[in-house]
Amino acid sequence: MSASRMQLLSPRSLLLLSRGRIEMGAQRPGSGPGVRSLTSPPLYPSSPGRALSSLSATRRGLPQEKMSENGVVSRPKVLTIDTMNPTVKKVEYAVRGPIVQRAVELERELSEGMKKPFAEVIKANIGDAHAMGQQPITFFRQVLALCSYPELLNDSTFPEDAKNRARRILQSCGGNSMGSYSASQGINSVREDVARYIERRDGGVPCDPDDIYLTTGASDGIVTMLKLLVCGEGSSCTGVMISIPQYPLYSAALAELGAVQINYYLNEENCWSLDINELQRSLDEAREYCNPRALCIINPGNPTGQVQSRECIEDVIRFAAKERLFLLADEVYQDNVYADGCQFHSFKKVLFEMGPEYANTVELVSFHSTSKCYMGECGFRGGYMEIINMDDEVKAQLSKLVSVRLCSPVPGQALMDLVVNPPQPGEPSYDNFIKERTATLSALEEKAKLTEQVLNTVHGISCNPVQGAMYSFPRITIPEKAIKEAEDIGQQPDMFYCMKMLEETGICLVPGSGFGQKEGTYHFRMTILPPKDKLEILLNKVKEFHQKFTLQYS
């Protein structure tokens, strides 16, 4: 990779790198066993790329090349499919992929009065709670409105605790305004509040505000950390272990960085649990052709919804310590745990309770966000990451990387502050806050159970319990004939299935192939976010569609 990325290595990491590896052709991300890539249809059939061409009516419709005097075709584009950065071509992002673009088209067609077999498009593809009608937490929005337009601080209809919180946030902003840049790492007082929150969450395990970085959603933090970790070429190329199924941000970022994606499979037969033997297998195989340096864990799982037990987390930490892997813990669904007997344990807490042997050595970053849990405030792009045991020189490089983004959105930082420091008992807004939060979380719990239960009544669909997060990821049986037909048009069978479902029912799901799945198995991801009555209708439509589809192709 580039020289600048090489600089990002600490002396310690260089040691890691210099370990001998057996030479083998570098395996490229996405080509690993079992992960099938989506074959996307062209996104721009109407080729809107040439904004200016219609300016000159006389030239309209002429090809882009012009003939020079001697008749030789000249002026091909500077940026073409052949000259563009090849790593970008490998990037795929299924949750906003072709199926979603088709859904947007269908919405437009509906609004233009075109006849469809459905009245509306239901986007159950993305974890976007507010889009599905979830209400925001009143207190959060009051404080943010006050911060946006501080003249409202004189308005008696806003509760005092909201005003106090707004004043405190504004005081920590440059020029007392959310409109000024913050430090790249984030507003100091917000990072301090995040640190106190983590300490409370983790039963007193200390947290240093200097280890907290406020990010533009969790995705930004994840991409930044991967950038920091990835280096090398060929057999010294960085490998990063990700679960299959995975959230496609990971595969997309690794493809763009030219890193090697190392797949470890979650065990579908055992509630998508993580098995240490499988980690070992995938790592041992990967050592043949790359330099594995990091292990990503999503807990609670996306798209799979499993919640890791404490023992499992301990095993993962021991494994990371033994194999010298940097741990990335994606914990954005930490408040979304529904199943009886399941509980969220943070990697940080478990790490520190395992004693100094681990607590002082294992490198860990944990991500959180304002987009999920009971808040669901995706549009603010707020988040944080906590970094533990990172080399100081690497930290300096991290500061440099985050400075390129200038800072994360200040309203998102303010919201993050409210999430980690919500109304306290005795404050005027406390009761209402608790009421709203409980209502949202218990509705999610109910919907998680409903989804599992209804889907499992369908012959040919089997769904693991949705222990946490916001999605079900059921396995679907696709008839041979349908698989054949999909292959004939160059589509993954589950993409074919989901496209059909979208066209016939207006329900937008993401095919399992966008997340990765064991060869020969098919899935889809569906959010549990629609309001209960709507979710029931949706589940029944899925059921009807599946039965019809199965019949049609058998």
Binding site: S56, N85, P86, G179
Partner: protein, 477 residues
């Protein structure tokens, strides 16, 4: 290591270290002030970034009222806010999925806002067509720029990708280029000629890349940052011809387009000039033009929102651009709303119109006033020369320090301009940035100061700089 890299005017990573030291210094000083440590000043004046609200410029009420109403829709139903604000907020919420600013938007941005931004561009450019499908709203113009660099820079090629970049030029953009392992190929602006861009210099710069890297793009900042020059239509035409002839992709950073104050200057967009040049240029030259909600009349840096308009791109490449932006999820929705107001300010007859005009007039007057005050003050000091700017929000005066001061800086392991900034901050409580961060001709030194501040803050700043500078010249003469 090539010649080009050895002579890197952006001072490679050294400036990073020095800048980091400056930032640590300001954090320490702020903390000391909080704890009541005695200093010759009570507050630091932070003019290190183009951040008007940081020094106390007020945000536009119309923008903030709309944001408040969108955040807390109860405000739409009572009469605390003007009726046009409430109507606009209601319409915007209707355009958000689920009627909430808490939902994700589409990848390119909220479709209705993208559409209105394209209409705004068209109005700005005398009717030149702007296709909404070619516009991507992102969390700030730097974010868009980094995404376009990511596609332009071939990170796997054996010959590194080169991008022509101005000296002086915005350091964050340069850092994004280097982060990808590409080579910034410097072209120098002519300080003596008011930081003008000369075509011979572009030719020289391009030739210097030969054998070093493969130059594919030309990065232009107009109006200039930090240098404040504004390109004439003719200069832009020449640059477009050059790019066409040399097959370079043009990256036009135009975030300061609404702050042009030079009496004879006018902002003309690259898009407009390209369109008006007609074929073959208007059909072929590839252009990315960047704008932002952080600058201009809005100055909403903290909301993090900007857009890029792409012109004449290969449709096959556009598909990857979509994917590239889609993995960022979307731009912050509040920022998109601010951008919408920028594109569609209140109109005559709207209840908010008179006050909106009053506020924007005040900002313009302040900028012109501050620039004149700063020029007069700096140019009256020995060892400081400041070119009259025409646009942007910075002045970039040149420092000619006495040899003893330069020697002292050297002993401290600092460049003369960083040395100056460190002491200016410590002794006078003014946070300015050293020219080394932006690149400067060898042997010259500058400082960058944001002049978009309330007039009283500007007066206090000039008083502090004058007194500090006079003392420094005395101490080292």
């Amino acid at each position: 290591m090539s010649m080009l890299q050895e002579n890197d005017p952006y001072m490679k990573d050294m400036k990073q270290v020095e800048t980091a030291a400056l930032f640590r210094q300001i954090i320490r000083i702020m903390e000391e002030l909080r704890q009541g440590v005695k200093k010759p000043y009570k507050e630091v004046i932070d003019v290190a970034s183009g951040d008007p609200q940081k020094t106390g410029m007020k945000p536009l009420s119309f923008v903030r009222q709309i944001l408040a109403a969108c955040l807390y829709p109860q405000l739409i139903n009572d009469n605390k806010l003007p009726v046009d604000v409430r109507q606009r907020a209601q319409r915007l919420l209707g355009e958000c999925p689920g009627g909430s600013v808490g939902s994700y938007s589409a990848t390119r941005g909220m479709p209705d806002i993208v559409h209105r931004v394209s209409e705004y561009i068209s109005r700005r450019d005398g009717g030149a067509w702007s296709n909404p499908e070619n516009i991507y709203i992102s969390p700030g113009s730097q974010w868009s720029l980094a995404n376009i660099f990511q596609i332009l820079v071939n990170t796997e090629a054996s010959t590194r990708t080169g991008i022509l970049t101005p000296v002086p030029g915005y350091n964050t953009s340069i850092l994004s280029i280097k982060e990808l392992g590409a080579v910034p190929v410097p072209y120098y602006l002519d300080e003596e000629q008011g930081w003008e861009l000369h075509m011979e210099e572009l030719h020289r710069a391009l030739a210097s890349a030969k054998g070093v890297c493969n130059p594919v793009a030309l990065y232009i900042i107009n109006p200039g940052n930090p240098s404040g020059q504004v390109q004439s239509r003719q200069s832009i035409q020449e640059v477009i011809q050059f790019a066409s002839e040399k097959r370079l992709f043009i990256l036009a950073d135009e975030v300061y387009q609404d702050t042009v104050y030079g009496e004879k200057s006018e902002f003309v967009s690259y898009k407009r000039v390209l369109a008006e040049m007609g074929p073959p240029f208007s059909d072929t030259v590839e252009l990315a033009s960047f704008h932002s909600a952080s600058k201009g009349m809005l100055g909403e840096c903290g909301l993090r929102c900007g857009y890029v308009e792409l012109v004449n791109l290969d449709p096959a490449v556009m598909k990857y651009i979509y994917t590239q932006f889609s993995k960022d999820s979307c731009a912050p929705v509040l920022g998109q709303i601010a951008l919408d107001v920028m594109a569609n300010p209140p109109q005559p007859g709207d209840p908010s119109y008179p006050f909106y005009i009053e506020e924007t007039q005040h900002i313009r007057t302040t900028l012109v006033h501050n620039v004149n005050r700063a020029l007069t003050a700096f140019n009256s000091l020995p060892g400081l020369t400041c070119q009259p700017g025409e646009g942007g929000v910075f002045v970039f005066p040149r420092l000619d320090l006495p040899p003893r001061a330069i020697q002292k800086a050297k002993e401290a392991g600092l460049g003369p301009d960083t040395f100056y900034c460190v002491n200016l901050l410590e002794d006078a409580g003014v946070f300015a940035r050293p020219g080394a961060e932006y690149g400067q001709k060898e042997g010259t030194h500058h400082i960058r100061i944001c002049i978009m501040t309330p007039p009283d803050i500007m007066e206090e700043l000039l008083r502090r700089v004058t007194s500090f500078h006079t003392q420094l010249m005395k101490d080292f003469s």
